[in-house]
Every structure is written in C-alpha cells, then in structure tokens.
Amino acid sequence: MNPQEIAALRHDIGNALAIAQANLEGIIDGVLDPTPERLASIRESLAAAGARLNDLR
C-alpha cells in the first residue's frame, strides 16, 4: 500500500470512529438523545471503519 492509500485509509477510519465515539459519548453524557437514527449511524460508522480496516489485508 502506498503512502497516499495509507493516508486515505487513516482518514476514513479516523472519521468513522470519530462519528461513533462522539455520538456514543454524547448519549452517555446525556447531551444527545439515543434516537434510532443516531444509534443506526453509530453502527454504520463502526461497520465502515471495520470494512476499511479489512482493506489492509
């Protein structure tokens, strides 16, 4: 994998995990409501991060 591809990977995984972490923490800290949409987007973000991680193989 070339440096550009690694940078892109790092960008995608970082963003996906950032969405999951920020929203989950928001729910735990009581600043965000645990709406079905929000919970779904957290799951999607984690799935997207996982999928990109698999690109490393």
Binding site: H11, D12, G14, L17, I19, E25, G26, D29, V31, S41
Partner: protein
C-alpha cells in the same frame, strides 16, 4: 477581556454532519453559540457573518481545507484562535509547522469532552494574551512614553527619534523602573551576543539622554547609579 456578557461564538467546520452535531451539542451545553458549516464555501460565509471568537476546523473538506479558513482570517489581520481537527496523523507536523498559527489540534477519533476542554484552554490563553498586549503596548513614566508596538519613544508627546538599538536599551529600563542594571546585566537582558560592548552601551545611554532628558548632565529619567550602573527613575507614587 472583551464583552464578557455575550455568549462566545464558535464556528465548527466539518464535512461529517454527525461529528459537527455531536460537538455542537456539547459546546451548546457549555454555553457557546454554535454555527456549523460542512463545506469550505459555507465556512467562509459563516466566518464573515458571525465573526467567531474561536473556530474548530477540519482539515480535509470536500471543496478545500479548513486551513483555508485560517488563511483568510489571518490575511485579514484577524487572530481568531483555531483548533484543527484531523484524521490524519501525517498532517499534524504540517499544521504545527505552519506560520498560520493554529492554536491547537485534535486527531480523530476524539472524545468530545476533550475537545471542549481544549476550546476552553485556547480561549483562556488568547484572552490572557490580549490583556497583556493591551497593557504592555505603551509604558509611561512621567512625560516619557515607550510605545512597544510602534517602536517609538515620545517625550511630552513628541517623537524622540531614537534608533533601534537605543529603543531596545530604553525598553529594558522602562519595563523595570527603579531597578539598577549593571552594564553586564543590561547586556544579558539585551541578549546581545558580542555585538554590543560596555563602551557602546555607555554611548547609547548618552545619546538616549540627549534625546529624552531636558538636561542630559543631570538626568531625570535615565539615572546613573555611581559605581554600579544605570536605572530608570521609579514611577511616581
């Protein structure tokens, strides 16, 4: 500090709405007035419109970079504090090395609470810096004014026409009125690596006296402390 009564305005720029929303919820709870922008174009519009007190800028945007917002702000002479957000560790060196003067950075993924803490810390720092800048821009002792920003010395409101070196010497005295400096201590304070010697220093003092004293032989401001060195007259009580 400026306008402490109004809410602090923060501009958050991130092309992931779900990240912006979460940060926004935290910062609103902390009493910030939040504006979100998902593109560089929107960010520049909002920057002009709201004149934020601080910005959170994602580096990678679909139509540009959060650094462009900072660039525009700095080109207008605004020192709006900024914290950069980035998912790429390899960008960090670039941000830190930049002359644009981002105040801090956070790598993704992050804890929103950590971001809030950074925002508070950066705001505190920039407000302190403003206070210092305001109070230190001109030092006045009697009729003598040392204007740090303008690099000018005035006596009774008139430009004394000091040289750059004379200014540096006088500034040290003006910042420490009443304190006696030996020639060595003065050279140390000037951080002069061998370019100024004790005799040169005496000449600068003599020239300064001609420019700021009514009678250079019996100086009112830059006084001789016999056998030791020089001092600036203490401030009037």
């Amino acid at each position: 500090m400026v306008a402490t009564n109004r809410l602090k305005r923060i501009l958050i720029v991130d092309d992931e709405p779900k990240i912006g929303e979460a940060l926004s919820a935290y910062l609103q709870r902390e009493g910030f007035e939040v504006t979100l922008a998902g593109t560089l174009e929107r960010a520049l519009e909002e920057y002009k419109r709201i004149e934020p007190d601080i910005m959170l800028l994602d580096i990678t945007l679909t139509d540009g970079s959060g650094l462009d917002v900072l660039r525009v702000a700095r080109s207008q002479g605004r020192q709006t504090p900024a914290i950069m957000l980035t998912a790429r560790a390899d960008e960090v060196d670039r941000i830190v090395g930049l002359e644009l003067g981002a105040d801090d950075y956070v790598t993704k993924p992050f804890s929103p609470r950590e971001v809030v803490a950074r925002v508070r810390a950066v705001l505190r720092r920039s407000e302190n810096a403003e206070d210092v800048a305001r109070t230190s821009s001109t030092i006045a002792i009697g009729d003598l004014e040392v204007d740090i920003d303008a690099h000018q010395v005035r006596i009774a409101g008139r430009d004394a026409g000091v040289t750059a070196k004379e200014f540096r010497v006088l500034r040290i005295f003006a910042e420490n009125p009443g304190q006696t400096f030996t020639r060595t201590a003065l050279l140390d304070a000037l951080h002069d690596e061998g370019t100024m010697f004790e005799r040169t220093l005496d000449r600068h003092i003599n020239n300064l006296r001609k420019k700021i004293e009514i009678d250079p032989q019996t100086p009112h401001y830059l006084q001789t402390v016999l056998g030791v060195g020089y001092k600036m007259r203490p401030r009037d009580r």
